[in-house]
């Protein structure tokens, strides 16, 4: 993901920007070079496996959110609706379909390759199935389905792990072998996984730096940049290892200097509120949305959205000694695959561990995998932590569903409520 231009750039941000640009350049040349492209999703992505086969990963969700940030999604969505897709459908899907129909030119203006394989990693989002059904029709591409069982009991059982590993062996790997003509190379996969684990260590270190006061990072708005490489096409690459090492050093330096996070308007000088956020951000008004927090001196110290492409702060790491098993555990552990009690536990723990004043839910009606049960989560986290919850509604990439005045109104009220509670606490 590229950073907004007004954000003062650290070296790691420039590096990320170059990485993203180079990736899209590579995608534009996939067909010319005779390479293969595999479309897949962020949650449950098997990037290391894809890289071990030398194929280029394309992530439609990332293209959609990038299109949203770049002001392109409105027209793509209109195009998809014109073609018969309902207003209530996930707007990532409509954005992607609209983009495909318009010639499949990616967010950076370069053409994206057609899929040679649709690798459907199902990790709790039912829409993914429908999405790739549509793309299958669009491109007449083969589909490999990886069915990841939902963590309904809150734990990963041996049977679940085996079920996923079996599918990797019997469905996913043979499909990759078919399109590439290459044999599965487990040693190569392990090399990628070792690099992943290294980058994951650094990412966790960065995200956990928000325990400091002031927090040197914003773990939601800033966090989406930090997760960029590891959630997308770079997990398991040297580029990702270098990026996270550099980022970690930068953040450590911010901690040493006692600095707050970098925001679209520069450094946040005074941290007035620490909050935890649940739910994906709005991408079409991303900066405006962030600024609403900055204006109030609010810093997000932990978020669940930054765990959709993998939960690492619970200790999970990709393990080169158990390559397929650890890929299975990774898929099973993605945030979208967790049941409500686990999400409540996680949010409650964040509120407590990161000493947050409260937590906010940004509810996206068209994203059922996130929004179903969010009010229940709100009540339970409130009860468990005693900190106030707030609820905002917006959308992923449909600009029609971001009502700035209302959201600002709601956020201001929320932060003033925290302030009022604080003064009562002082008085008692």
């Amino acid at each position: 993901m590229s950073a907004p231009s007004v954000v003062p750039k650290d070296a790691s941000q420039d590096r990320q920007k170059r990485m993203i640009a180079a990736h899209f350049d590579r995608l534009a040349e996939v067909e010319e070079r005779g390479e293969k492209a595999v479309y897949t999703f962020v949650p449950g992505n098997l990037t290391e496996l894809l890289l071990s086969f030398g194929v280029a990963p394309v992530l439609p969700e990332i293209n959609a959110l990038q299109s949203g940030m770049r002001g392109l999604s409105k027209d793509y969505i209109a195009r998809a609706e014109k073609d018969g897709h309902s207003e209530d459908v996930c707007t990532y899907v409509k954005c992607d379909i609209g983009m495909s129909r318009g010639g499949n030119v990616g967010p950076t203006g370069k053409r994206l390759p057609k899929p040679d394989l649709l690798l459907l990693s199902y990790t709790g989002c039912f829409t993914f199935l429908k999405w790739f059904e549509l793309l299958r029709e669009e491109y007449d591409a083969p589909t490999a389905m990886l069915h990841v069982p939902y963590q309904g009991g809150g734990t990963i059982t041996d049977a679940m792990r085996k079920y996923v590993v079996d599918q990797l062996k019997s469905k996913v790997i043979p499909a990759l072998e078919r399109i590439t003509g290459r044999a599965y190379d487990e040693d190569l996969l392990s090399e990628h996984l070792a690099r992943s684990a290294k980058a994951e260590d650094d990412l966790v270190h960065v995200l956990e730096s928000a325990r400091h006061r002031p927090s040197p990072i914003d773990a939601y708005f800033g966090g989406v940049y930090y997760i960029g490489p590891i959630f997308t096409a770079f997990r398991g690459t040297e580029d990702a290892v270098d990026y996270y090492a550099e980022l970690r050093a930068e953040i450590d330096e911010r901690v040493r200097l006692g600095l707050g996070p970098v925001t679209p308007d520069g450094e946040l000088e005074k941290e007035r509120y620490r909050v935890v956020v649940e739910g994906p951000p709005n991408w079409t008004s991303f900066r405006e949305f962030w600024r609403m927090f900055v204006d109030e001196g609010a810093v997000v110290v932990a978020s669940t959205y930054t765990k959709v492409g993998g939960v690492y702060d619970n200790g999970f790491r990709h393990d080169p000694s158990r390559p397929l098993e650890s890929l299975a555990e990774y898929c099973l552990g993605c945030y979208t695959n967790l049941d409500l009690p686990t999400r409540v536990d996680m949010l409650s723990r964040y509120v407590t561990d990161y000493e947050a004043d409260g937590f906010l839910i940004n509810s996206v009606k068209s994203c059922n995998s996130f929004s179903a049960g969010q009010l229940l989560i709100l009540r339970q986290v409130e009860e468990r932590t005693g900190r106030p919850g707030g609820f905002i509604e917006s959308d992923l990439v449909d600009p029609r569903y971001f009502s700035a005045a209302n959201i600002k109104n709601r956020l201001e009220s929320y932060f003033q409520m925290i302030e009022q509670k604080r003064s009562r606490g002082d008085a008692r």
Binding site: A405, N406, K408, N409, S413, Q416, E419, K421
Partner: protein
């Protein structure tokens, strides 16, 4: 004397509440919100200060030896006369603005004559609007004058336009429509200017003098003295807090602006100290708020993405039925078989309304169904905010509507069991009251003076 004021700038109306230094309510003022928020605030405050002076007159009169009934009658008449004079004053401003527009040489004489006749008719009928017991569709000049202007313009156009002939090619109907349209166009343009001139509300001194002179019997000396004392009292703004939907545009410094959620919570708590749940249905947002025993907000829910089921819904329905907003509730409570209307989308509800009317359903029944639909929407927000606890306070303009309160009471009882439901006759001022209380606190803590200074451009510290 010093006062603290809270101003609640809503999408439909702007309200102001003035408190004395002890926190007692001295005055309340309300006006329709308009494109110019500064003027809306200024007019609401001017109205609240007029109301404050009436409170001072009442206090003065209380020491005069008149019986309570006599005092009520005297004050009632004085206020009616005051409102009439205020109306006449605004009518004068309207006349001036219309005259300025008529300087446009492209306007034909027939239109000029029409405007003159309509304004003369409005003047002639002004008194009738304010006789004792007269019912008015609205208290705002825009609505009162607009309704009368349209009626008179239509009558004038009907009389002064040649009747349509059956002869082929005769377009006799066109000028009539044209004359009416021209008269309406002039009014629409003029009223915007009239209501954006804050002086249109005029000051207390000049108008009260005329009101005293216009009383049926000569005003007693005690009343005159009380009025003189009230008029001479200096009212100094001590502290001010703004809230409401348009609060970003309030002409105060940032530190003097409070969220309406907090203001409604505190206002409702002050009106009814045992309040734990507050519902406010405003023009374009509905708020469900939970408060603790000190009026501090613990949780809230608002509509974000859609304004369906808000107060404007009723405004739209009133327009569709050519009724005043005040008339909807009384009609709906006469329903014997409420229609079941599911849509809370304002536009769909309008379509459903027309369809049902065309099928012969009684409008009382349709209106009752529409009121229920708006309340069902609010019930969803209440549920999301944490339910309805005892006591439950309903605020905002819609709380004045008996059909809405009836439907709410039934649905709350069905869903949560019996609850004490508080509705103050002044519920529309709840947000402004909360804001005034926050202003009072800041005044007491010493920040009020800073806030007043900041209004004139000096820097201000944020009110804690």
């Amino acid at each position: 004397m010093r006062y603290a004021v809270g101003i609640d700038l809503g999408s439909t109306t702007t309200k102001a509440v003035v408190l004395d230094e002890q926190g007692a309510v001295l005055g309340r003022g309300i006006t329709n919100s308009r494109s110019n928020y500064d003027v809306a605030c200024e007019v609401a405050l001017a109205e609240a200060l007029i109301n404050t002076r009436f409170s001072l007159v009442a206090s003065g009169l209380a020491r005069s030896g008149f019986t309570e009934d006599a005092r009520t009658a005297l004050l009632g008449e004085l206020e009616r006369r005051f409102r009439e004079q205020q109306y006449r004053h605004q009518l004068g401003v309207l006349d001036t603005v219309l005259a300025e527009q008529l300087e446009d040489p492209s306007i034909v004489d027939a239109t000029r004559a029409g405007v003159a006749a309509v304004v003369a008719g409005m003047r002639a009928r002004a008194g009738a609007l304010f006789v004792e017991g007269a019912s008015r569709k609205s208290d705002f000049f825009r609505d009162l004058a607009g309704s009368l202007y349209m009626q008179l313009a239509e009558e004038h156009a009907r009389v002064h336009t040649p009747k349509r002939s059956c002869a082929a090619g005769d377009d006799g109907g066109a000028p009539r429509a044209s004359l009416f349209d021209q008269l309406v166009g002039l009014y629409d343009k003029a009223i915007l200017e009239v209501e954006n001139r804050p002086t249109a509300a005029a000051d207390f001194d000049a108008i009260v003098e005329r009101a005293l002179a216009a009383m049926d019997d000569a005003a007693p000396a005690a009343l005159k003295t009380s009025v003189e004392v009230a008029a001479a009292t200096t009212l100094d703004e001590w502290a001010k807090v703004g809230t409401g939907y348009g609060r970003q545009r309030l002409p105060f410094p940032e530190g003097c602006i409070r969220s309406e959620i907090l203001c409604h919570g505190l206002g409702a708590h002050t009106m009814f100290p045992d309040t734990r749940t507050v519902l406010d249905i405003g023009g374009q947002d509905t708020k469900a708020i939970q408060v603790d025993d000190q009026g501090i907000v613990t949780s809230f829910q608002m509509n974000d993405r859609c304004a369906a089921g808000c107060g404007r819904y009723l405004g739209y329905i009133a327009d569709e039925m050519n009724l005043g907003l005040h008339e909807l509730g009384p009609l709906a409570v006469q329903s014997t078989r409420p229609a079941r209307i599911n849509s809370t989308c304002t536009v769909f509800a309008g379509a459903e309304l027309r369809e049902r009317l065309s099928l012969g359903e009684r409008r009382e029944d349709i209106l009752a169904g529409l009121h229920r639909a708006i309340v069902i929407r609010a019930m969803s927000l209440l549920a999301r905010s944490g339910g309805v606890s005892d006591e439950f306070t309903f605020t905002g303009g819609v709380a004045r509507n008996a059909a809405a309160t009836g439907a709410l009471r039934r649905l709350v009882t069905e869903n949560y069991g019996p609850r004490t439901m508080n509705i103050s006759p002044d519920s529309i001022y709840t947000g402004a009251l909360g804001a005034a209380l926050f202003a009072l606190r800041s005044g007491r803590s010493g920040d009020g003076a800073a806030a007043a200074a900041a209004r004139d451009g000096a820097p201000v510290e944020t009110i804690p």
